[in-house]
Subunit: 353 residues, 5 copies
């Protein structure tokens, strides 16, 4: 449950723009990776902090990736190099932000949530990725090493696709797009999981299935909370008229926007399926309870009259007809059998059996 | 359940615009059909891929129908002939798209879901149909052979109605309209089915009815997910000012739009009826359970006191009045009968019987 | 249930604009009634089809009422006389349309649903009424003879009110208004019915009440489906700037619009009341069940211990204290009575009795 | 329930604008009160109908209050004097209107619902108040004598506050404001009532509480239906640019608008509290039922095995070990006590006791 | 419950703009604190009422904080000094306002709700804070001493951050921001509390947990009612073009707006979690009830047939086979044991045990 509660800030009373890291505590050193490429060449380095963003006016696109945002000094220095507003730096370090887009004329800032599915632990991990776009560079801030950008790195290195020929805005789009695409991967796993739970519940529901349904519901709720603002971000990117986005890039942004709409659709479908699985679970439970009650009623209804008859002939009256007869016992047994059969027939006719 | 889960993409990390088929795997060769017609003549051929779209400037309308979108080479070549944007080709091959409309000035692109009802299997099949409209031609991409366009083909061949006299935009509209119309056919079958389940549940509800209700609910949910974006498509066609649509065609588009609104209405009505069938089911179940409980209570309430009286006279006290009397037994039997009758009278007065 | 399912079309694949009657099959001949009036005079005839709409340029207003829309030849000829677009004629003959308004510049087309309450059958009948307004005439198409327009006919004949002095647009409004007004009449009956069911359920709920509640819910759902689009029609009439509506007529249209809003309000109120009646029903059922369970528990709790004591003294041990005592039996009876009284006191204290 | 049903009209088929009173039937004579005031003087009379609105051009504000709208002749004559549109007069006499605002350029018409709480009967009474504003006068129509305007009359007589110095529009605002303010008074009583029911349900819920909750829910539903359109009225007054409202009056209108928003808020809060009271009621009921079931189960589970053992030793076999032993009876009693204690221990461990 | 009901006004019939205190009754004297600062210096005093707002034209920013708004004379005098509209003064003294923003050109007025969490009492206290911004000063009105502004006071005294260098509008923003930030603090405590209840309910649910869930639901409902209008206030501040807000301040306002959105998100998450905790509670209750019923059924089903057999052999027939046999008793016991075992096996197979 903890993951869903932690979305709060511990910085009340801080000066706005003060750089305080909010999120899981970390100790690792920040790691910088710099790509510099144009249509003809590509260059990949791990620069020092001091020259993270080279100020030369060489053409081409710069992409600086920052792994680790817990060190205020590092973030501040990069911010100073890139002329990033203190409030944006504050957002970068508060890693529990709601996805959003900020347009500072000379800069475009996007904060997103990157989801990753861990197969073995059956867990969705999420971290905040902040992207800053200027006319000539993109800076991406991540909380942890390990991301979904490897295909983009490959494409830059190989020069496949449009990316090497296009500008920084296309890189900015590509990073967002690969985050969006990864939601599909996560959803595929969640979909398999939902189907698995469905199969299990249909066959034989158990208490643990209920917990699993609730866990899935929470995960989907969480995804929904990440993807809805992401949709807004892309919608504003698509309609907003930031002068940093080239017109050729807009159809791609629209495409990514369509994907977020489809993700939302899928998340909603899964939520509806889960609530239908829940229904199946509950109705199978109540079905079972009904059978328990029927069992109780049938047993009671058959044996109470029989026991009564037995009790009747167990009374100690001196004068009771049939007690001395040789066939009395068997006659009573026969009557009892008839009563039981009659009851059973009645139950069968009323479809209780 | 599988159909509802599969709405995901397996292409995360791909270059945007890369042509990868997403959907059920297929092996059949792609089949092309070309209509070329004007008011006076009609010509129907199965062209080679190389000359699928003849580049001559002869007047008249061209309609190229493509059955099978799993072969990237074919789609790409057609795309090159028709000057279709790579992102659109990607959408054509990803056959699990949400219906949408894209306006690329010189081209109009629509992606729809075509439903077909299979009577014997009681199943709704759906496939994606992508339509591309240029000033002089329409290309339609389908996943499988077999579609709902035969009446249009007949009308083109016979020269009935407006279609031969109108332009490519009217053909474009007609294809969409026949897909929309077919939703009515599917809904009619679904409506009959809903009514059948209703009749059955009202007469004698069973567990299998519940499964059927849930299946119908899922089918309607799925239809709703297909038709809502279709409504948006037609709404945008109707209001948008694509210069590819002639003003004479707009009333027809508005008509098709009205039909989607009516389909949505009907789907919602069916959903409400299903949830009312569900209510009938549940209330009849709980009604039955209540009768079971009443039965149990009545039996218990009648026989417990009687058995107690019998048990009383079964005690082995040496001195008990009446035991030796000749009429004791019958007196007790009489008292018991009176008790039972009193109980029955009480139950009848409280309307439990 | 059938009424709610039938809202589908059997014309998929038809040429748009093809005239095919959709609705209940009928055989009666179409009946035409023509009013021609101005402030000074009124003339009422049953014209032949050939001269249904006289083409002379005499001043005054023409109102042609058509009873029966199942005969395509008749509808088509009238359509040709009035220059009505084929798509509108199609809408007139498809009698299961959603209410709508179409503005064809020279013509205004409205399709409405007219409700009538049949007291003796306790049934709401509905039929489709299509109205076409041109600058000088109104044509009204109905499915059946018998309508809610008699007060308007009376006013035209008598020259009461504004109608004889106003133009065709005021007649058009008056026809719509009298359809809207009739919803109030139907609602009044439905309201009485709801109240009656409420009274009955409060006094003594039965299974048949449940069916009646469900029937009423369906009727209200149906009314809601008719009135919402009607509200849209009037809203568009009021705001739209059709040049066929004189400015003096607009306040009247706004008035009719207000009435539809009030009808919607009332329908929603009735729906809420019905669901509250449903609640009363369900809670009284569960209340009764609770009383059944309490009865069961009380009986069991009193007689089980008593029977146990009786069973104790029914054991055949040779040595049991008190069996031979003269007062043993009575002592045990006394103990039993005390036990029963103690139980009853306990139940009373816990408020179970 | 009747109050909620009666919102229908009995005038279907009437000529629009015909003056027919709709509402509770009344016989009292209409009573007119006329205030004429300016900053310097105030004059209060009960004029004849003939000179209700003096036509002189003396400066100052005229306020004509009309108690009773059931007499068509009176309403019509006043309407003629004030140049009020027939449709507005119709609205004034139909006392079951939805609150609304009509702007007829030279006149502003508002129809509101005035609520009054009757402490002793615990009932909310409502009546319709119609206000007409012209540049120099206000006419207020009420159904009954007795209203919430006395503080305004006092302020006019005493010359306290702004009212004597301001124009007719401020009077118009003040009348609306005092109606809005009175909703707070009603809500205060309803709030006390809700709290009282809450206390009672928490202590010991009974069937009558349920009825009271439902009654309160209906009252709040009714208030909500009155206040929502009132909010629209004030919103339109505030944003609309009627030239009858002086700019100085607008902040006051905005203030009244804020109050309606707060009333809506409070009504929604009360509704949520009521549904929470309902939850408490239901959960306490089901809690009680659960205790009944536990009681039943515990009694059955303890005494059934004991009775079985007693029955065992009540069998008439000739050879049964222990029957002849002197301690057999006591041994069996001991075993029984152990069984009972074991059961009780088991129940206590499972927290059923 | 009282806190949620009291949101009403006791001033119906008052002259609008009349200064009447609404809220908890208080007696303490009003306490004034005045900050006067610019980039270079800061001066903090507790001025007399007479010279609360010095009229000199010295540069710098004035911040007058007023603790206690129950004294109409004080509020009125301050209002006169600051030229505040009487309606605003009325709003300041009605301490149960819905948060709102009013733009009076020369003044900007904001009314907010400040929440504070009292750890030991586990209670959220709220009070109304009204802020008035003019070009050169800010006045803040609070109900009680003690607030969340201390960090701002510290920053003013120390000259840390932007605040001393910026204008009155930045102070206005900072006060709002610190109120918004404090919602996070409150939410953190509420989050911990929710998690604690969740843990407890998962382990062993009890009636008192239910009360706690309901209390939390009410608190969150209350927070939601405070934060939604606060969001509107900030949205209007951000988009509205009050000339009192410097352009440099707008990004900060946007930041605060984002925080309110995130607070709403978190409140909604907590509400969903609570309703999920409620589900866990209810399902564990019904699970327990099911086990009770199964227990009852198993006991009954096992012992009823056994008791019947015992009763059979307790009958006093003279001729019953086996009664005289030496092994009869043990044979019957064996049969009984077999019956019981068979039943247990049956229950185990049906997974009831």
């Amino acid at each position: 449950m903890a993951r869903f509660v932690r979305q709060t800030r511990r910085t009340a009373g801080q000066d706005p723009g003060a750089l305080v890291h909010v999120g899981d505590v970390r100790q690792e050193a920040t790691c910088l990776t710099l790509f510099r490429y144009d249509a003809a060449s590509v260059d990949e380095t791990h620069p020092d902090l001091a020259c993270a963003l080279p100020r030369d006016t060489a053409p081409g696109v710069l992409w600086l990736n920052v792994d680790g945002v817990h060190d205020a000094a590092v973030v501040e220095q990069i911010g100073r190099m890139g002329d990033i507003h203190p409030l944006l730096l504050e957002d970068i370090m508060h890693t529990l932000q709601r996805p959003k887009l900020e347009d500072y004329d000379s800069l475009l800032f996007a904060s997103l949530r990157m989801l990753q599915y861990h197969e073995e632990r059956r867990e969705i991990e999420d971290e905040q990725v902040s992207l800053v776009l200027s006319p000539s560079w993109v800076i991406s801030f991540q909380e942890n090493p390990g991301d979904v950008f490897d295909p983009i790195r490959e494409r830059i290195r190989d020069g496949r696709g449009r990316i090497r020929r296009a500008g920084a805005d296309f890189l900015f789009y590509s990073l967002i797009d690969s985050i969006v695409d990864n939601y599909f991967v996560v959803l595929e796993h969640v979909g398999d999981w939902v189907e698995e739970v469905y199969e299990r519940v249909t066959r034989s529901p158990s208490q643990s299935d209920l917990d699993e349904i609730r866990l899935l519901q929470r995960e989907l709720l969480y995804m929904r909370k990440s993807i809805w603002p992401l949709r807004e971000v892309l919608s504003r990117l698509q309609h907003g008229d930031s002068r940093l986005l080239a017109p050729e890039t807009l159809p791609y942004v629209r495409d990514a926007y369509d994907h977020t709409v489809q993700i939302i659709d899928t998340v909603e479908t899964f939520r509806e399926m889960l609530s239908s699985v829940m229904d199946v679970y509950l109705s199978s439970l109540s079905n079972r309870m009904n059978q328990v009650m029927k069992m109780l009623t049938i047993i009671t209804t058959i044996f109470m009259p029989l026991s009564f008859v037995a009790g009747l002939y167990g009374m100690n009256f001196a004068w009771m007809p049939g007690l001395r007869s040789r066939v009395g016992y068997f006659a009573v047994l026969g009557v009892m059998a008839l009563m039981a059969l009659g009851m059973l027939y009645y139950f069968r006719r009323r479809r209780w059996l």
